[in-house]
């Protein structure tokens, strides 16, 4: 694999060059947190971060997105006809995305890009994006990527992987899309022969720093109904306040709700992220709610990520181990704990409810 060496003094100049052909997104610090934002001309991504507070999924899949526009004015010849909203699918690039977050796009892709159904907004936006990853030399205490199908130097979902090596970045070229971006920046110097070894050493060290893990191997063999009826859900869900923090911060949560909003004689049809934690997510027109209790909603979130998804796609859990939901949950509900409970659940051994 080709490795390019980017001297840190060439970093800003290269980014300025890319900006003429790409819309750039990168981590930007505001107050105490980093978040992915569109970078202004000349603005550099701030790579002095562990990971962003909110996941970068919004770069491809905004929290609110207008799909159609329409007129309700009957004098208008084309009233009551939905028209595609104007979209910008020109090339864009995310700089400094962590490998776990990059892997999440492949996971979400299984939902938005299937042989049967294709979500045009997500697919076009995704295809327009070049993912420039940033390897984690110092993972957080809550990171469990290595047991969730990813890793601090994982290349899946990335076009380029940057590795910080003090004075320079090593850029591993993963796809031709990535190569085009590096060319556009004018970063062309091949790295010295020792680079792969240095990268491997950093990778090994980062991997050894991952202190937490999940066990997932037995989830697939569990009976769905037995997990569904497991006694531990009351205990797991007790603290939950049913806010949308876990799902909105999660890079792999993809659910949305469609709304029409009118203003005077015109309106838009938009979609907004939705959350299975909200009662409104499932309420029927009749007023009946099949998931009316907090226990049912909490169970749904974990069953979806750790059982239904596992069964449906046979490709691991619907989680990349970024740890955001653990760090930001207001009441400390921890997916690692729940995953282990589910993975080790034995209905026969547990006749009494786990409290």
């Amino acid at each position: 694999m080709k490795v390019i060496k980017i001297d840190k003094k060439d970093w800003a100049g290269g980014i300025e060059k890319i900006q003429s052909s790409y819309r750039l997104y990168g981590p930007v610090k505001s107050d105490a947190f980093h978040d992915f934002k569109a970078l202004e001309k000349g603005e550099l991504p701030d790579l002095n971060f562990s990971n962003t507070r909110v996941s970068p999924k919004s770069v491809v899949y905004p929290q609110s997105e207008v799909m159609f526009e329409y007129s309700l004015d009957e004098k208008d010849a084309e009233h009551h006809i939905l028209k595609d909203a104007a979209k910008d699918y020109s090339p864009k690039a995310v700089l400094g995305i962590r490998p776990c977050d990059a892997a999440s796009f492949l996971l979400v892709k299984r939902n938005f890009d299937t042989p049967e159904y294709k979500d045009p907004y997500w697919i076009k936006s995704y295809e327009a994006t070049t993912f420039v990853g940033y390897a984690c030399n110092n993972p957080c205490a809550t990171c469990f990527c290595t047991t969730a199908g990813s890793g601090p130097f994982n290349e899946e979902g990335l076009d380029v992987l940057l590795v910080d090596e003090g004075d320079c970045y090593y850029a591993k070229v993963i796809t031709s899309k990535g190569e085009s971006l590096l060319n556009a920046a004018g970063w062309k110097t091949g790295a010295d022969g020792g680079a792969p070894d240095k990268i491997a050493a950093l990778e090994k060290e980062a991997g050894s720093r991952i202190a937490s893990s999940v066990t997932t191997g037995r989830l697939k063999d569990k009976k769905t109904t037995e997990l569904y009826e497991a006694p531990f859900w009351e205990d797991v869900s007790f603290a939950c306040i049913n806010c949308g923090t876990c799902t909105y911060l999660c890079p792999t949560c993809w659910c949305f709700d469609i709304q029409d909003e009118n203003s005077g004689c015109s309106g838009v049809r938009m979609r907004n992220w939705d959350s299975c934690m909200f009662p409104l997510f499932t309420i029927h027109g009749t007023g009946h709610n099949p998931r009316g209790t907090k226990l049912q909603r909490v169970r749904q979130r974990f069953m979806h990520k750790l059982k239904y998804y596992v069964d449906k796609y046979d490709n691991g859990i619907q989680c990349v181990g970024c740890g955001r939901c653990i760090r930001s949950c207001p009441v400390n509900i921890d997916i690692r704990k729940v995953c282990d409970m589910m993975n080790s659940y034995d209905p026969k051994a547990c006749a009494c409810p786990a409290k």
């Binding site: 505001s30 107050d31 105490a32 947190f33 978040d35 562990s50 507070r53 909110v54 905004p62 929290q63 609110s64 110092n138 957080c140 205490a141 809550t142 205990d235 007790f238 603290a239 306040i241 049913n242 806010c243 949308g244 923090t245 909105y248 911060l249 709700d257 709304q259 909003e261 938009m270 907004n272 959350s275 909200f278 009662p279 409104l280 653990i326 760090r327 930001s328 949950c329 207001p330 009441v331 400390n332 509900i333 921890d334 690692r336 704990k337 409290k355």
Partner: protein, 315 residues
């Protein structure tokens, strides 16, 4: 406050064993530093899971709403005031509760501490007024009084206002605290400055509703933002919809808010949501001499009429 836990467990054991309660609601040790998890214990053999330290900021009154069991609940000053409010508003029956009062010396601000250690925090221990933080193998000692959550630093009701048992002797309340400096600062702004101030304040909001859901006052079966017939408030990230939510959430708390800080603590993006409610609390105090949840025998100012009620704003 560390010594409290032995008493909490002992009282809880007695209550459970004597059958006076069906469950104890308290905290268990969290899986990450600076966090504990609200939990229930039904079996006195499992009381060792209960903990008490400076990371028990979540308001447990929130877990009482409409429950039918007999409950023993661990309650700080603010929790006890919300229990009073719950009793006044018929969300729980007093006789169903055994309140284990905690004279509270304040909870620490998890964001403030996390922000001080960019390399992450491996472990935290505390004793009395000292917090020891271990980060990358290096231990740092900090003064707890410098790290309190803002509402705890400004708290004048640390002792529980209503209780059946006490986990420790009552403590001295804080005096001469300037509780409303932030409100006064905003009051001094022009209308446009105020508008911009709140615009910036809520700009990171992701509409997860953690502030609403962490609040013991927010128990409406359907919140106004979730109403669909009619839909009062848009669902997108539109700034005006977000603002409408925050405005109305605050107003629904007028005369009821105990400034427990649950909303601010819960916010995943660190919005100082108390900036909305503090003004209402100050107005209630100035206009009606009222602070929420101090006594189950007093009706709140907004559901009673007194001839002397201020009415200058009515033309």
């Amino acid at each position: 406050m560390l010594g409290y836990i032995d008493n909490i467990r002992e009282i809880s054991k007695r209550l459970l064993d004597e059958g006076r309660v069906d469950m104890i609601i308290g905290f268990r040790k969290g899986t990450i530093p600076l966090m504990n998890e609200p939990c229930f214990v039904k079996n006195s053999g499992e009381l060792s899971t209960l903990v008490w330290d400076s990371n028990c900021g979540i308001n447990l009154a929130n877990y009482l709403t409409d429950r039918k069991e007999k409950i023993g609940i661990v309650a700080k000053g603010c929790d006890s005031r919300n229990i009073v409010t719950h009793i006044i508003e018929n969300k729980i029956k007093r006789e169903k509760l055994v309140i284990i009062g905690i004279p509270c010396k304040g909870m620490v601000d998890k964001r403030k501490i996390a922000g001080m250690f960019e390399n992450g925090i491996e472990d935290i221990t505390e004793e009395d007024n000292i917090i020891r933080v271990k980060s990358r193998g290096v231990e740092t000692s900090l003064n707890k009084s410098d790290l309190l959550q803002e509402n705890c630093a400004l708290c004048v009701h640390r002792n529980p206002v209503i209780y059946d048992e006490l986990a420790a002797p009552l403590i001295e309340e804080q005096k001469s605290v300037d509780r409303y400096a932030d409100v006064l600062r905003i009051e001094a702004m022009t209308a446009q400055e105020k508008w911009e101030y709140f615009k910036d304040l809520i700009s990171p909001c992701i509409r997860c509703y953690a502030c609403r859901n962490a609040c013991p006052l927010c128990y409406c079966p359907t919140c106004f933002v979730d109403e669909s017939r009619p839909q009062w408030c848009g669902k997108s990230q539109d700034e005006i919809d977000t603002r409408t939510f925050h405005f109305l959430r605050a107003y629904h708390c007028a005369g009821r808010c105990t400034d427990c800080g649950a909303c601010e603590r819960a916010c995943p993006v660190g919005i100082k949501v108390r900036q909305f409610t503090s003004k209402l609390n100050k107005d209630c105090l100035d206009m009606f001499g009222w602070e929420a949840g101090l006594s189950p025998d007093q009706r709140p100012p907004l559901d009673t009429y007194k001839p002397a009620d201020p009415g200058d704003f009515i033309k």
